[in-house]
Symmetry: C2
Subunit: 273 residues, 2 copies
């Protein structure tokens, strides 16, 4: 069972979180940097507020940070786990707080390696080790050795720099194309990093229907309903901007804009009959 | 909760299995080839009997076969899944029976790859894919590509042949050393394959105490209590014969025999006081 809390452009609103806490969740799942699917980044104030509320209710926070290194503009905001370690003033000592921080090599080195890491209090790590051993003993040692070798030299930071420039360009291309080709009545987020942005269509428009039309033009997206635990979000969609080059992005958005215009015009004509 | 069924030298006795079935298990776990920890191999008759009983009670069978290719003597006995497919006469058609068969590259190619395979009815495979995707999406593609390449040529069969000869020699060395150096009152299994054999000490002897003495002589083993769900088997132990060369095995068994003799003599002397 999921308790969904709607985000605004700065992250999780404290009031909504407080209300959700009264349902007694087992943990809070948070993705503060360039959230999948909507590309929203939480402000530092909102991060601190979450820590305060979670601490007050004694609820652990699972901080998922797969995209943190993929920032294309603006300043880095410390992750929840770093803010919490500072709040708890356990400088240098092993972290004993409320946050379980996850990140991964999947978005920087290679997704196929299936390698990730966790920062958490020792007792939590011990339990996670047990769970991992019970599942598949350990991640492939070949993958681990490869990541270890890569981390010995400067390959990874240089590679991250390279994909940051590449993906940043592609994000810009998509934002520019959206401005150029999308009709009025459709809005979108402007992510500072990550891989995704979020579209909101007119209330009456079902993204699943739109997808059928778009696929005929060889353009696809993920309807937003898959990201809603309550079946809502029918008039929303996720776009990925990291995969294609700027030329393809421009052409794809042009075609999607054309489909959208047609669908909206047809609806307008229908309403006029 | 586990329902333990004691094995005899031919596998799972049907009467004991029937009795256990009355507790309504969710599945039967079976390791018919060179079972870890005891090295026992189930006869074909016992395999068929298990299938019959499991089918009668409608209980699925999880067949674990990590060591099946590591046979050093005797004839290959078909796995449960093959016998069941034959019984059900679904020749050529996808398997629809009661057995979920597992094997692995860990004991033949490399344990670090964390690669294994499953034979099961399509509906079961679908559920397993879901579970795997929920856990870690998929096994490392690097590991999978490596195994794929290795399977394109003749490396793996040749390699299995090689380790079969090597491990067979080591098993023989251990059996010979046990005959030569172990005192009366200790018995052991004579596995036809796999990696392990099983020691049974006199009833009064606690393998955990013996281990403390053995470690002083730089010899270790796994006390059998870890393999008993009911805390029994205190006077048993598992020996691995695949890891060390014959010279080390001989020396190790010599030292362990020496420790055993001393412990048994001390107990004899204590009893005489």
């Amino acid at each position: 069972e999921y308790i969904a809390v709607p985000l605004d452009e700065n992250g999780l609103p404290p009031d909504a979180l407080e209300a959700a806490m009264r349902s007694g969740p087992k943990f809070v799942y948070a993705l503060p940097n360039f959230q999948n699917p909507c590309g929203i980044t939480w402000s530092e104030e909102r991060r601190k507020k979450l820590l305060e509320i979670a601490d007050h209710y004694g609820v652990p926070v699972l901080e998922d940070d797969p995209y943190g290194q993929l920032r294309y503009e603006g300043d880095h905001i410390p992750p929840l786990v770093a803010l919490d370690a500072k709040l708890q003033a356990n400088n240098g000592a092993p972290y004993t707080g409320n946050v379980i921080y996850l990140s991964t090599f999947s978005k920087t080195l290679a997704p196929g390696l299936r390698l990730a890491w966790v920062i958490a209090p020792n007792d939590v790590i011990k339990k996670l080790v047990q769970a991992k051993q019970g599942t598949d003993l350990h991640a492939s040692t070949l993958s681990q050795m490869l990541a270890y070798e890569v981390l010995q030299n400067d390959f990874l930071p240089a590679h991250v720099k390279r994909i940051r420039a590449l993906y940043g360009e592609r994000r810009d291309a998509m934002l520019k194309a959206l401005e150029a080709f999308f009709p009025a009545g459709v809005s979108w987020t402007r992510p500072q990093g990550g891989l995704f942005l979020w579209l909101t269509f007119p209330e009456w428009l079902d993204a699943a229907d739109l997808l059928k039309e778009a696929v005929k033009e060889k353009v696809a997206f993920v309807p937003g309903v898959s990201f809603h635990s309550d079946g809502g979000g029918k008039n929303t969609a996720r776009l990925n901007f990291s995969f294609c080059n700027p030329e393809k992005i421009e052409e794809g958005i042009r075609r999607l804009g054309y489909v959208l215009e047609r669908v909206i015009a047809e609806r307008g004509a229908g309403a006029a009959v």
